[in-house]
């Protein structure tokens, strides 16, 4: 390809990268908080589904995606409350509860989708979602225009949300206590802070953001709900957190990395006359992410108390 072609090719792929990465960014950022406080939530897939469904349902009835988003967060917070109640207060095994959330998330959303929308199948898919906002002039810029200035509001939001997250985690007393809780809860306890409260807060943040990540799929990236529409994104987000070394920006860039590989495979399939079996292209994101992860030079250790319920006397 000659330079110009390459540039436009890249521009399109990178624009898609950002859109595809967005659900991972929200979800993994939330999980960073939860895990930094020592709570591992492998139920992200389920929480995302619940977020996706509530956002869809509310937007469908109110016709306003903003309400959908609010509803998704509420749904996420409810999940978080339940998750924290079980894993923090009742000290239940976090993997168990996470696994359960995945089951319930899929079952509940599918069941409700049918009970509530089975009649309205056709219409159910027609409501307004967040549509791309073209920033005047800027969006006309060559190369950058398409990537940076022709996205929907939730995509634009990601860097700012991550920035806020990083600030909260590294620059506030709350963040300090979160980071301490995941490493050495007893210390937090003896410093007069309430380990339980901090973990509740972090889990709530985690689930709320996961729900937003799911909602993005139904009220921003597309405007419909399908059973299991998250298609495993919750699990990828889980991996993203580890590869991103439990840091907000790490999660941000690893999400983009995965999004890039995914966009690339879709784009390569779209090139007419390509003969390699499409499954090879499909495998690309997972394979490359795995390779990147395994060959990482520096790999941070997980928070020492990750997954360990805290029993104070």
């Amino acid at each position: 390809m000659e330079p110009l072609a390459i540039i436009t090719f890249l521009a399109a792929v990178l624009a898609a990268t950002w859109r595809l990465a967005t659900p991972f960014i929200f979800t993994s950022l939330g999980e960073v908080f939860s895990e930094r406080a020592g709570v591992l939530n492998i139920g992200l897939e389920g929480v995302m589904l619940i977020g996706a469904f509530t956002a869809f349902a509310v937007t469908f009835f109110t016709g306003n995606p903003v309400w959908g988003l609010v509803a998704a967060m509420t749904g996420g917070l409810t999940c978080g409350l339940l998750f924290a109640l079980l894993t923090v207060s009742l000290k239940a095994n976090q993997i168990v509860v996470g696994a359960a959330f995945n089951l319930v998330g899929l079952g509940l959303t599918s069941f409700l989708y049918r009970s509530v929308f089975s009649g309205r199948m056709e219409t159910a898919r027609e409501y307004h979602s967040f549509s791309p906002i073209e920033i005047p002039l800027l969006s006309r810029l060559p190369f950058f225009g398409e990537i940076l200035f022709r996205q929907n509001i939730m995509v634009y939001a990601t860097p700012f949300v991550v920035l806020a997250g990083a600030f909260l985690l590294y620059r506030t007393a709350f963040g300090l206590s979160v980071r301490s809780t995941g490493e050495h809860p007893r210390t937090v306890d003896s410093a007069g802070l309430r380990v339980g409260v901090i973990r509740y807060a972090s889990v709530l943040i985690g689930c709320a953001l996961a729900a937003v990540g799911g909602a993005y799929l139904t009220v921003a990236h597309t405007n419909q709900f399908n059973e299991g529409i998250t298609s495993g994104r919750g699990f990828i987000a889980l991996a993203v957190v580890v590869i991103g070394r439990w840091s907000p920006w790490g999660a941000f860039f690893v999400s983009l990395l995965f999004g890039f590989f995914y966009a690339l495979q879709l784009r390569l399939q779209a090139v007419s006359g390509i003969t390699i079996p499409y499954q090879f292209l499909q495998a690309l994101p997972y394979l490359l992410t795995l390779v990147v992860f395994v060959t990482l030079r520096k790999r941070a250790a997980p928070p020492s108390a990750l997954g360990v319920p805290y029993k104070s006397s």
Binding site: T172, A173, F174, L176, E183, H184, A191, L193
Partner: protein
């Protein structure tokens, strides 16, 4: 200055089953240094944890500065100027000193923009009290002594009037301990009140104004230090006569069991920790390794037991080059190892006591037969051992986690000695355990020596080294900086060597 700052009235605290405190009453005077003595499990830590608001008492009143108070959490205690330095440090290793110090000091929404302000204030404090520390350093990089300084600074930063220290000297050099005790005296002079938990009687004698002795959850007595001596205190604690000195060594030294040549070992971060040391241990002798913890002793122990790889040099066990042998092969060669941290290595906390006894031999007869565990034999063995080593427990099926540290240590000692090793490597065998247990453990080690084993004893407790060793090697920054006979009179030189004061390797002899 006999005004009372805090008064405890029949404090009672029970944990599922175990009664930790059965109605303890105690008065602490403003500006005094008050020692708490007692065996493991006597209830010292729990009692103080209550004063610090970590635990809520089942019954009993706390009267602070004349008015009864309720401490729902350490926050309440800190607000009132009560600070505590815990036995197991309460520091977040991944955070910096200053982050650790301000943890919990500000409301959640507080923005920590001006860390530098905090840091200057900490520097000011550390200068004022002579507690040298770099506020920016991450805690996991600090030596144990430094970490303790951080703990104390934390209390000072919060502004304490009553400072509780739980076994603070268990991990310090004589110099560090001396410095700490001196510091405490000075602070007491300035009106700070100190409650000081320890197992070391001479410290009590040195520093305290009064002593309270606890025995299984009850107060035995509070006495003016001036009116007692160590033996008296020991009897109060244990409730019987204790021999503080070891019986003289019997039996002669034999052939070389362990010989170490130019041995170098790296720590887990890959930095050199042991730098070309050479020495040997003969059968029938106890060689003590003295040094501030963190000068390569731990790595030496790991290296000699096959748990860390040898960077260069070699060591022979019973004449066989052992550099690349696995822990298993080494123990078959006759090595037994009492590790430094029993909770991390020595025992498997969720396992039963019986299961812990077979940690090395779980797959060899008599405990295993063609691949299967023989529960009967295992239980029988455990019962015999706990009997012989007088481990206090309710049953060998009980989780070892529920035993006191002292009793956990007895299990480890029993397990290792039972192997009747050619070389016995013991690392901090009595750290944090009480006199009764200590006496017992030391006897066992000496006895093992007398039956002809070679013993390498690593300890940061000079008393212990003097009590047990035949000769001492002093470690400083991974090197042996001196060899001395194990005689108390030499404590000055030894202390200096441990602190790296005199660099040239010299043999002190008289």
């Amino acid at each position: 200055m006999s005004e009372t700052i805090i008064k405890l009235e029949n404090m009672v605290k029970t944990f599922s089953g175990t009664v930790a405190n059965r109605g303890v009453s105690l008065e602490i005077r403003k500006g005094e240094i008050h020692c708490l003595l007692g065996e493991n499990g006597a209830g010292k830590t729990v009692l103080m944890s209550i004063v610090y608001g970590l635990y809520q008492p089942d019954s009993g009143r706390i009267i602070y500065r004349g008015e009864p108070i309720v401490l729902r959490s350490p926050k309440d205690a800190i607000k009132r100027g009560i600070g505590m330095v815990h036995q197991h440090f309460m520091l977040v290793p991944t955070l910096t000193v200053s982050e650790n110090i301000i943890l919990g000091q500000y409301p959640p929404w507080k923005i920590l923009r001006q860390m530098d302000k905090v840091e200057t204030r900490i520097e000011k404090l550390s200068r004022e009290f002579g507690l040298k520390i770099d506020p920016k350093a991450p805690v996991h990089r600090l030596s144990v002594g430094e970490q303790q300084r951080v703990e104390i600074l934390k209390a000072l930063y919060q502004g304490v009037d009553l400072l509780i220290l739980d076994e603070p000297t268990a991990v310090l050099t004589p110099q560090e301990s001396a410095a700490l005790l001196h510091f405490l005296k000075e602070m007491a002079g300035r009106g700070l009140t100190v409650i000081f938990i320890t197992h070391k009687l001479e410290e009590v004698m040195q520093v305290s104004d009064r002593v309270t002795v606890l025995r299984d959850g009850r107060k035995v007595e509070t006495v003016d230090t001036a009116e007692v001596n160590p033996r008296k205190l020991a009897n109060l604690m244990v409730g019987r006569e204790v021999l503080l000195e070891q019986p003289p060594k019997t039996g002669a030294e034999g052939e070389e069991v362990l010989s170490v040549k130019d041995l170098s070992i790296d720590d887990e971060r890959g930095l050199p920790a042991v730098k070309g040391v050479s020495f040997s241990v003969k059968s029938g002798e106890i060689v003590g390794i003295a040094g501030v913890s963190g000068n390569g002793q731990s790595e030496l122990a790991l290296g000699l037991t096959g748990l860390a790889s040898i960077a260069s040099g070699e060591f022979r066990l019973c004449g066989k080059i052992a550099n690349d042998l696995t822990p298993r092969e080494l123990s078959h060669l006759g090595l037994a190892h009492v590790p430094e941290d029993r909770h991390k290595m020595g025992v498997v906390l969720p396992f039963s006591i019986a299961e812990n006894f077979i940690l090395h031999d779980f797959d060899s007869p008599p405990f295993a037969k063609n691949g299967f565990l023989r529960t009967g034999t295992i239980t029988a063995h455990a019962n015999e051992m706990v009997g012989r080593y007088d481990v206090r427990l309710s049953g060998v099926e009980q989780q070892i986690a529920q035993l006191s540290g002292g009793n956990q240590q007895k299990v480890v000692i029993a397990r290792e000695l039972h192997r009747n090793p050619r070389l016995l490597l013991v690392n901090e065998p009595t750290r944090g355990i009480d006199i009764g247990a200590t006496e017992f453990v030391r006897r066992q080690i000496a006895a093992q020596r007398d039956t002809g084993s070679a013993v390498l004893l690593i300890s940061s407790d000079l008393e212990e080294l003097f009590a047990l060793s035949d000769r001492l090697l002093i470690f400083y920054e991974g090197r042996i900086v001196g060899e001395t006979p194990a005689r108390k009179e030499l404590i000055e030189e030894i202390g200096l060597l441990m602190a790296g004061k005199s660099m040239e390797t010299n043999s002190v002899t008289k």
